[in-house]
């Protein structure tokens, strides 16, 4: 009897713990882009020397950059096809020439990232891979040729 009651209490505690656990959502909006992407960010500081942007490629984890700009916007050409997290940080020159102090990174999958709609949300960019070009042609010696342009031209081979 006691063990049944104890079991019920334990189950209730476990259920309560599960319900109270924070839900971790890693989903990010994927923005397909062409051969370049234009990025912008906010910063109220006026003493920033320049910003450095890096792209972190999905799967391989390879970092591309830094891409440097003195403004709060930058156009980055496609480094390689794939999905990328974007990070930007500010650099301030502290008296000694060419020695900088860097801020933490602001990440596109961080808590302060904004979607295109202006609302807070995580995102990544997808530099699409260019597909095969031209029509597909299927041929057989001494026979008819089919190609995609006219969608199956000719008779059955």
């Amino acid at each position: 009897m006691t063990s049944t009651r104890t079991r019920k209490i334990l189950i209730a505690v476990l259920v309560g713990l599960v319900l109270l656990m924070p839900i971790r959502v890693d989903a990010a909006v994927i923005y397909p882009v062409g051969q370049s992407v234009t990025l912008a960010w906010d910063d109220e500081q006026t003493d920033i020397d320049h910003y450095e942007v890096v792209l972190i490629r999905n799967v391989s984890g390879v970092e591309y950059g830094p891409y440097v700009t003195t403004t709060k916007t930058i156009v980055i050409p496609k480094p390689k096809s794939g999905i990328y997290e974007v990070r930007v940080r500010g650099a301030r020159n502290d008296e000694t020439p060419l020695e900088f102090r860097y801020s933490d990174y602001c990440s596109s999958v961080g808590d302060t990232a904004l979607l295109k709609t202006g609302v807070v949300g995580k995102w990544k960019v997808y530099f699409k891979l260019l597909g095969p070009s031209g029509p597909i042609i299927i041929s057989q010696e001494e026979n008819h040729v089919y190609q995609t342009e006219d969608d199956a031209v000719g008779s059955k081979s």
Binding site: S60, L130, G131, P132, P135, S139, Q140, Y146, S157
Partner: protein
């Protein structure tokens, strides 16, 4: 049994990141499934032509839709190009009743 092969040709992707091309197929009116987790397709290599039928293609006589995508080093795939054409991948039945007369 001998199935006379056909040749499928296409133009190379202008993207320098292409590592290989992947072919998938479906029998109309079914659409080709391009989800690599569900339908990995057949990796034809970094080429611009290959012989048909590909391994795994159905041995049948009828229309077949073939889709071709480019794939990069981490598995990203391009938009596909497709063609639907009639194929005959069935060899005729062998003769029977062979005898000396």
């Amino acid at each position: 049994m001998y199935i006379k092969p056909k040749t499928m040709q296409w133009g190379a992707s202008p993207d320098p990141d292409v590592m290989t091309y992947v072919a998938r197929w479906a029998i109309p009116p079914d659409a080709i499934i391009y989800d690599a987790a569900i339908n990995p397709g057949y990796d034809v290599g970094k080429v611009t032509q290959c012989a048909l039928p590909l391994p795994g293609m159905p041995g049948f006589d009828g229309e077949l839709t073939i889709g071709l995508t480019a794939r990069d080093d981490v598995g990203n795939e391009s938009d596909p190009v497709e063609i639907t054409v009639p194929f005959d991948f069935l060899a005729p039945s062998p003769p029977t009743g062979l005898q000396v007369i």
